[in-house]
Amino acid sequence: MGAGHAHGRLYRAGDSIVHRLPPQCKLVAVVAFTLVVVATDRERFPAFAGYAALLIVVAAVAGIRPPFILRRMTVELPFVLFAVALPFLSPGPRVEVLGVWLSVDGLLAGWNILAKATLGVVASILLAATTEPRILLLGAARLRLPQLMVQIAMFMLRYADVIVEEMRRMKVARESRAFAARNLKQVPVIARSAGALFIRSYERGERVHLAMLSRGYTGTFPVIDDISASRWQWGIAGTLPLTALAILAGSLL
């Protein structure tokens, strides 16, 4: 029971000022920062260096070590592959780099994807590393994200482990009867297991709903923990996107 604490991996407990900021401030700061990054022209190289420096400062203040961030950046890998392929595949004028002729336009396009994706991913990693998932959801609710979406995310967080555990038990049950997924012919067995898992989860959903009704649920979740943010806290969180905006403005001069 209780195997695999899947959502413990992103969060890193701490007591820095970044950790203590209310979740709604951090969410808004990260989204605004990402918007500024995306809006930056790809050839304003110093601006990108400035953004990266900002994130390094945030990471340092929050006490998040580079290896922690680097390991989690692997989610970006598909984009990196695409970005690396662009200089080889794009048409247009070419330049010689280390003896290989590459497309100028492709190089810039690849750089554009790589730089912006990296900055966005690192900002999200920093957000997730300093905010517990459930607190993040409270922040989302506070920002008036539709109740239904927040509730669905909350249940996902709560039941991911339960469903993974159920899946593992089904796998053990299959293998105990000498089943091994070796070739495509066995896909139907896996598919039926997936179907059974879906039905079980659906039925669990019904039982959870009954349990909720029994405790007076009438369609809206009561707000139990309300995290309010002071102007001061909004101000601190705002320094990230506002400094980024200043850097962008500076690069345009």
Binding site: R134, L157, R158, S214, G216, I224
Partner: protein, 245 residues
């Protein structure tokens, strides 16, 4: 006034399967009663009528003199606390504290009163130390106790437990029975764990085939081997009711 009175309760599921054929029973305030019966006897169906989740096809349910009906669901659900069999169904919030607060918050409580309810309920089941932990990090026995607390926090008049001893190891089983015996509420415990019924409940009912077929002091009911056998109930091997011949 009875704490709970069920009279002539009949119910058929939408697919036509009749589960209850006229159930009559009543509980006095402060009583602890076991509802015994084999699988498929209609125990869970009956339980879901007690707080208005299912609506009777015929007959009525009264809780503390108040008839269960659509207009009074909130009050009924405050008075009747249901503890479901699988604590993973009952505990759906990210932390124990929020889960225990869910019921009273739905009743409109906030702030210090809400906090007090959570603290008292968790203390009653000996789980105060786990308030900030996510439910899935607790052992099964601990989750069952927290599930009881989520209902106690609503300060119910009747606590209804569906198979409270299922899947518990012997120590968790004993801890839970000690907690239940010390609570100051009317208890209806649905089970086919006969020794557990004997330990906790002075009175037992047998529900079989959708009707109540026996009602009496638990030791007497459990001593009637023929009655038990007729309704697919059996004492565990080697178990004898203390004081019975």
């Amino acid at each position: 006034m009875n704490a709970l009175r069920v009279s002539g309760l009949a119910y058929a599921y939408p697919d036509g399967t009749q589960a209850l054929f006229g159930v009559d029973l009543s509980l006095e305030r402060g009583e602890r009663v076991a509802l015994l019966g084999p699988n498929g006897a209609g125990k869970t169906t009956l339980v879901l009528h007690l707080n208005g989740i299912l609506t009777p096809g015929a007959g009525q349910v009264h809780v503390g003199g108040l008839e269960v009906g659509p207009a009074r669901l909130r009050e009924i659900r405050r008075r009747v606390g249901l503890v479901f069999q699988d604590p993973d169904d009952q505990l759906f919030m990210p932390t124990v504290r929020e889960d225990v607060a869910f019921g009273p918050a739905n009743l409109g409580l906030r702030g210090s009163e809400l906090e007090r309810r959570v603290k008292v309920a968790l203390a009653k089941v000996g789980m105060a130390h786990a308030a900030d932990r996510p439910p899935h990090h607790l052992s099964f026995g601990q989750r069952r106790r927290v599930a009881v607390a989520t209902v106690l926090a609503m300060e119910p008049e009747i606590l209804v437990l569906d198979e409270p001893s299922s899947n518990l190891d012997p120590a968790s089983r004993r801890e839970l029975s000690e907690i239940l015996k010390n609570l100051d509420v009317t208890v209806l415990m649905v089970t086919h764990d006969l020794p557990y019924a004997l330990e906790i409940c002075e009175r037992s009912l047998i529900l079989s085939g959708g009707v109540v077929v026996a009602d009496g002091p638990t030791p007497e009911i459990l001593a009637d081997g023929e009655l038990l056998t007729r309704h697919r109930l059996e004492l565990p091997y080697g178990f004898a009711v203390p004081g019975a011949q």
